[in-house]
Amino acid sequence: MAALAAETPSGQAPGGFFARFTAPALPGWLQAAPLAIVFGLFFVLPLIFVTVVSFWDYNDYEIIPSFTVRSYVETFEGCIDQFPDLCTILQTYVSTLKFCIIVWASTLVIGFTVAYFLAFHVRSLKWQIALTLLCTIPFWTSNVIRMISWIPLLGRNGLVNDALVSLHLVREPVGWLLYSQFSVVLAFIHLFTFFMIVPIFNSMARIDHRLVEAAYDAGASGWQTLWNVVIPLSKPGIVIGSIFVVTIVMGDFVTVGVMGGQQIASAGKIISTRLDALQFPPAAANAVIVLGITLVIINLLTRLVDIRREL
């Protein structure tokens, strides 16, 4: 790298400059140190604290630093004696996983389609950038305003219900449009499709268009090209996007709360209810459980494709 930079004097000046003076002097571990320190201080250390606190005892107003598995035992309360009925924590995770699968599948289909359009049908870079920015519109307003603005749209006297009634599709306004599983999924898709679009688009933009042409020349149909050429080459983007969407949905409690009328359980909501009641250890225990389950899912996803190699 350093030799390369030295040999091309007309190349990128800053890159060449740093490469020439610093790269040989600094060993690799030192170069990685700043990120490692930030990562250690603000991610690993808090995570260790959370895990430690999850094994502490507590009362109404303080955390007691003595080892106990109380928080875990109480979190899984009733899982054995209520069987085959599901206990609270299992019901919650069934619901959260259901949202995960539905939202993941929907954002994947929509995100892939949009990314495909951007990468293969929009030819000019300017338009690609402009249209990608357009996808960020859901993020232009604050979370709260976005949430509240669903009421005039999906509420009983909202625009959609008004339209349905005036078209005589329903006789009375329907209630399930808002504060329901439907509205939670809708809000998730509305918000998180963007996290699918960007990585998939990024992967697709790197696909050599000659490969697609070669496929056509070899007699492949449109679907065959898509299935055998585009999708395999977009895999890293798909997996990264999936990781984004799955981790956000697993940990979300604001969207589920507001769109579900606070009546739908989520892993995040259990944590937040516990925190609000000043019960930090059980909140920490639940956080550790969510983390564990999310890591398992991500591990499965990364088995499908080796991201490190692909990047």
């Binding site: 609270t88 919650t92 509420g155 808002l178 504060y179 606070q262 009546q263 209810t273 009641a277």
Partner: protein, 430 residues
């Protein structure tokens, strides 16, 4: 001619002197304000006031500064965050605004300092509703839950034990209190509502709501349990485990049959639900009902035969407040109870801690409407001047004696709070 010119010079010289004096005054003033080092400048009189935005009126801060020079720095967070901060960062505030029921968690932490009632001029005039649990006429009122009288006094300044009888050491100086009930949309319900049982009446399927705060939601459900005759609690604000199970079961059945439209967690959310007609009957706060009504939408804060679920807020001192800061805090408390703030809170639809001093700052027709439950002689206006009620209307629930006398229970933290929160999570998941 020369005389005239002399006079002119004279005048201008005098003006010049005056001007210089004024300029010097400004300079001195600005030094004091900007805090430039100056021997005679005082430290700015600042109190950091932690609480929820609802209880942090800029008008009160402004008037306080005019009257006493104290600058009230508001730190606004949400209800649960107030408690969290008090326990985890007691030095991040001087005064803390919270509900009486939170004291059961805050006082044992030792992070708050009791105030000396002897240094508070009007303390003996604080309404007996809060200090003794009785009306000014001596009638006892409901004390289920964390009634203020149970947590109002400590055994000593640094004690973490509540005293059952009044002592010199006060935990919270009352700011506002009120009696809560159900808000309804009379135009959509079209029949009289008289009982808490109506909250879970299948007639309002998909159009009812409760608060998304477990300890309050479960008490509303308990009011329904008693109203329908299913169970009578020894103390709705301190249930036993079987009682919690029973109450959660009632809520779960209602939820599964689709009774609730939503659980609201924010003032504006409750206003939106009611104003948009998503709900027609819900647990509500008085100012939220006023807010719906001010949009021209009929909404009633419906008095019910089983009584009200009441609450009270107040402010406390952080344990970090000593010396000069403590003097300042007492000055603030004395100002707060001297009437102007009380009258202000009355006009917002709350009751104030010291009734007499608030009365002195209100017009007789205002007092008659808010306090005595008489028909308004003139239009009733909010502190910001907006029209609340037209002349002739009567306050929902009537007089202070009828409303506060009808209190059935107080917002509470139960002994079995931990168990209740777990069951509540189960209810949400069901």
């Amino acid at each position: 001619m020369s005389n005239e010119s002399e006079t002119a010079t004279d005048v201008s010289r005098r003006l010049l002197l005056k001007g210089a004096g004024a300029a010097a005054g400004v300079a001195v003033g600005s030094q004091a304000i900007t805090g430039f080092p100056a021997v005679w400048s005082q430290e700015p009189k600042v109190l950091r006031y932690l609480g929820t935005a609802v209880n942090q009126s800029s008008d009160i801060a402004k008037k306080l500064k005019e009257d006493t020079g104290i600058i009230l720095q508001y730190i606004s967070v949400d209800t649960d965050e107030v408690t969290k901060r008090a326990i985890t960062q007691p030095n991040s505030f001087d005064m803390l605004d919270t509900e009486y029921f939170a004291l059961k968690k805050l006082i044992p932490s030792g992070n708050l300092l009791a105030m000396d009632a002897k240094k508070i001029a009007n303390f003996d005039k604080v309404t007996p509703v809060l200090t003794k649990g009785e009306l000014p006429n001596g009638k006892k009122i409901g004390d289920q839950g964390t009634a203020p009288k149970k947590v109002m006094f400590l055994e000593g300044q640094h004690s973490t034990k509540f005293s059952a009888t009044p002592t010199e050491w006060v935990t919270l100086i009352p700011t506002t209190y009120n009696a809560d009930t159900l808000g309804i949309r009379p135009d959509l319900i079209k029949r009289p509502i008289t009982s808490w049982a109506e909250l879970l009446n299948p007639e309002f399927k998909g159009k009812a709501a409760i608060l998304n705060i477990p300890s309050i939601g479960i008490m509303d459900a308990a009011m329904v349990m008693e109203a329908t005759g299913q169970h009578t609690y020894a103390d709705k604000g301190n249930m036993t485990r079987p009682e919690i199970d029973m109450t959660i079961k009632l809520l779960t059945e209602a939820k599964k049959s689709g009774q609730f439209r939503a659980f609201w967690s924010d003032f504006n959310e409750s206003v939106n639900l009611m104003a948009s007609g998503e709900t027609v009957i819900q647990s509500m706060w008085s100012p939220a009902v006023t807010a719906v009504r001010s949009k021209g939408i009929p909404c009633t804060f419906q008095p019910l035969k089983e009584g009200y679920r009441s609450w009270a807020t107040g402010f406390a001192l952080s344990k970090g407040v000593t010396g000069k800061k403590a003097e300042l805090a007492y000055e603030f408390v004395n100002w707060f109870l001297s009437g102007w703030a009380g009258a202000y809170l009355f006009r917002q639809g709350y009751y104030s801690g010291v009734l007499d001093t608030a009365k002195a700052h209100m017009e007789p027709y205002e007092w008659a409407y808010w306090m005595e439950g008489k028909p308004a002689e003139k239009d009733i206006h909010a502190p910001n001047g907006s029209l609340l009620e037209k002349a002739g209307t009567v306050r929902d629930g009537g007089s202070f004696e009828t409303r506060m006398g009808g209190v059935a229970c107080w917002n509470a933290v139960m002994d079995e709070n931990d168990y209740m929160v777990r069951k509540w999570n189960g209810f949400i998941a069901a």
